[in-house]
C-alpha cells in the first residue's frame, strides 16, 4: 500500500518544526525503505495571505484523499482582526469537520527527563500517562444558530451546544476501545447538573458502556470537578472522554500539568476509508507560538511525535513508531535540550534544527 501524507505547516513555528519532521520522514525512506508520498499545502493565516481563505477547496480535497494529514499550527496576532469567517482557526475547523474527525486523542504524558519542568510537584506528575479523548466535530464549535445579532439597540452573541446520540456514541466507543488497550478505565466528563446536553451525554456513554463495554470501568464526573481533580491528583485517571469545548479546556490543563507542552502530540481520527485506514489528522498540542517564531527556540518533538502517531495509527507501523519514541528518549537522556527545556545552570540550548538532527542521528 502506498503511504500518502499531506503536510500543512501552517503559521508561526509550524514551518520550523515541520522542517525537522521532514528529516525524520526522509530517514524512514532512506534507511527503512518506507516511502511516503508527501505533498504540502497551506492552512491558516498563510493560506489567507496567499488565497484570501484559511483553507482552499483544493487543499481540502487533497486532505480528503490522503492517508494522513500532518499539521503544524495555525494563528497569530497578525490575523486577530480578520473577520470570523476567514480567521486562521476556520481552516483547522473545516478540516476537522469535513474529514469528520470525531475522535481527538490527546495524551498527557510526563517524560521522566522533564518532570522538573512542571509547576506541579514531582510526586503528583511523575510517570503520569493519561489519554483525553475529545469529541471534535460537534458541540458548541459547530452548532447553529450562531452569530452576533442586533436585538433592539443591543448586540447579542449566540452559540449553540448540540449533540446527537450518534455523535456521543461513536466517540464513547473510541474511548472504550482505547481504554481496553490501556488500563481499562474511562471517566466521562460533562455538566449534567446544569446542561441537558450533558444529561444526554452521560446517558449515552452509560448505555454504550452497559451494552458493549461492560468490562471497562466507567465513572462520570462534572467537568468543573474534573478540572479540579486533574490538578489535585491526575494519576487517578486513565482515559477521559468529554465533549468538544470541555475537551479543549481540560486537555490544555492536562497538557500543562505534565511540564512537557512542547513534547505532546495529538491524533484526530474519523471513520475508516476504503483502504481500511481511518481518516486522520495529526498535530502537536502546542500552538503557533508567534513570540518565538524564527528564533530557533521551538521544540520540534511534539510535531515529530505527531508523525510517530501517524506511523502507528495510519500506516500500521507500530514498530517504527516505537523506534522513533526510543530515539527521542535517548536524545533527552543524553541531555539535548531546546530552549523550553532548559533549567537554570544549563549550557546553551539546542536549536530547533539541532534537536531534529540529534533525533535523526539517534535513529
Amino acid at each position: 500500500m502506498s503511504n500518502s501524507l499531506l503536510i500543512l505547516p501552517g503559521d508561526g513555528i509550524g514551518p520550523e518544526v515541520m522542517a525537522e519532521v521532514r528529516k525524520v520522514i526522509d530517514w524512514f525512506g532512506a534507511r527503512r525503505g518506507i516511502a511516503f508520498d508527501v505533498s504540502e499545502d497551506l492552512v491558516g493565516g498563510c493560506a489567507y495571505d496567499a488565497h484570501g481563505t484559511p483553507l482552499t477547496d483544493a487543499a481540502m480535497e487533497k486532505a480528503q484523499s490522503v492517508d494522513a494529514v500532518l499539521l503544524g499550527a495555525v494563528g497569530g496576532p497578525k490575523y486577530d482582526k480578520l473577520d470570523f469567517s476567514v480567521k486562521p482557526e476556520r481552516g483547522l475547523l473545516r478540516l476537522r469537520k469535513e474529514m469528520d474527525l470525531f475522535s481527538n486523542l490527546r495524551p498527557a504524558v510526563c517524560f521522566d527527563a522533564l518532570a522538573d519542568f512542571s509547576s506541579l510537584k514531582k510526586e503528583v506528575i511523575g510517570g503520569l500517562d493519561i489519554m483525553i479523548v475529545r469529541e471534535l466535530t460537534s458541540g458548541v464549535y459547530f452548532g447553529e444558530p450562531r452569530g452576533v445579532f442586533k436585538e433592539g439597540n443591543e448586540r447579542v452573541g449566540i452559540n449553540t451546544q448540540r449533540y446527537t446520540e450518534g455523535e456521543i456514541a461513536r466517540v464513547a466507543r473510541s474511548a472504550f476501545e482505547l481504554a481496553r488497550a490501556r488500563n481499562n478505565k474511562v471517566c466521562s466528563m460533562e455538566k449534567a447538573n446544569v446542561m441537558e446536553s450533558g444529561i444526554l451525554w452521560r446517558d449515552v456513554v452509560q448505555e454504550i458502556h452497559d451494552a458493549e463495554y461492560p468490562d471497562v470501568e466507567l465513572s462520570h464526573m462534572y467537568a468543573d470537578a474534573g478540572g479540579m481533580q486533574l490538578v489535585r491528583w491526575p494519576k487517578q485517571f486513565d482515559v477521559i472522554v468529554t465533549d468538544n469545548l470541555f475537551g479543549d479546556m481540560l486537555s490544555d490543563v492536562a497538557a500543562m500539568l505534565t511540564g512537557s507542552l512542547g513534547m505532546l502530540p495529538s491524533a484526530s481520527l474519523g471513520a475508516p476509508m476504503a483502504n481500511g485506514r481511518p481518516k486522520a489528522l495529526y498535530e502537536p498540542v502546542h500552538g503557533s507560538a508567534p513570540d518565538i517564531m524564527g528564533t530557533g527556540k521551538a521544540n520540534p518533538i511534539a510535531c515529530i511525535l505527531s508523525f510517530g502517531m501517524a506511523l502507528r495509527y495510519s500506516f500500521g507501523k507500530g514498530e517504527e513508531a516505537d523506534l522513533l519514541e526510543r530515539a527521542i528518549d535517548k536524545v533527552l537522556a543524553d541531555g539535548v535540550r531546546t530552549a523550553d527545556l532548559m533549567q537554570a545552570g544549563d549550557k546553551t540550548p539546542a536549536t530547533t534544527a539541532e534537536m531534529g538532527d540529534a533525533i535523526v542521528a539517534a535513529l
Copy 2:
C-alpha cells in the same frame, strides 16, 4: 440599619459548617453589638425531600427581601436520579437568576500556613492572591432553547449560549472596579477564536475598558490558554473576568491550585437594593462533600469566611471582616487543623466544631 440574613444550610456538610458560622454570628452579636436578624430555610435536596421542590416560593421571597443570603452547599448522590427540573442545583440556580446576582467573586488565595497542601510547587503558588469574576446569571446555564429532544429515531441534547451586550458590560464593570482596589489588572477570557458569543464578549469588555476604565491594564486570553496559564504561573493574574461556564471551570481549577479548597469563600452580587446594599448571596467554593458528611471532618473556614465577605460587602463592616480573618490566621498559625489540612505526622485533627470554637476563642 437592621442586618437581615437568610441562612440556607442545604445538603451534605452544609448544615455542619453552618452551625459553626452561627457561633461566629452570635459572637459578633454578644461582643460587638452587631445584631443580625437571622432566619433559616431549606435549599437543594433537603428542600426537595420536605416540599418536592429544591426551593419553595416562600424561601425565594425571603431571599429577595433580606440583606444577604448565606448558603452552605447543595446536592448529593441521593438526588442524582431526580428529574432535571427538581435537582438540588436548580434551587441554587433559581436564587442566582431571580436575585439577578450577575457578578460572582471567587478569590483564589493561598494561605501561607497551607502552601504545602497544594499539588503545585510552593514557589508557584506561595502568596497567590487572584480574584475570578464569573458572570452568573446568563450564558449556557440559562439560554433557550434547551432540552433533550427526539429527532427521527435519535435523541438530541441542546443548550444555548447567549449573552447580551448589557450582561457583559455590567460584569465587566464589576471586574474593573475590583481591579482598581487591587493591582489594577484585568484579564478577560473567552473563546473568541471559535465562538461568536466570545467575540461579542471580547468587544464589549474592550469598549467598557476604553470608555470608562482606561487606567486599568486589560488583556484578553482564550479560555483554554487561560486554564494552561493558571497552572503554569497563576501569579501573572490579578482579576480574571469570564462567562458563566468558563468561570465555573476556571475558578475550580484556580481554587484547587491554592491547596486551600476548604478555605475559599465566594460572593455573588447583584444590583443595589433600595437601602443601597447589593443583592447578595455568599457561599463556600467547596461542594456538599457527601462522602465526609457527619464525620466531623468538614472544614468550616470557607463558610465562615463567606460570612466575612458578607460583613464586608453587605453590612459595611470591613473592620469586623478584617478581625475575623485575623482570628482565622491566628488559629491556623497555632496549628489547629481540620482533617483536610492534616499532613503525615500530624496529631489527631480538630473536628468541625472544634475549629469553630477555636475561631470564636481567637476572636
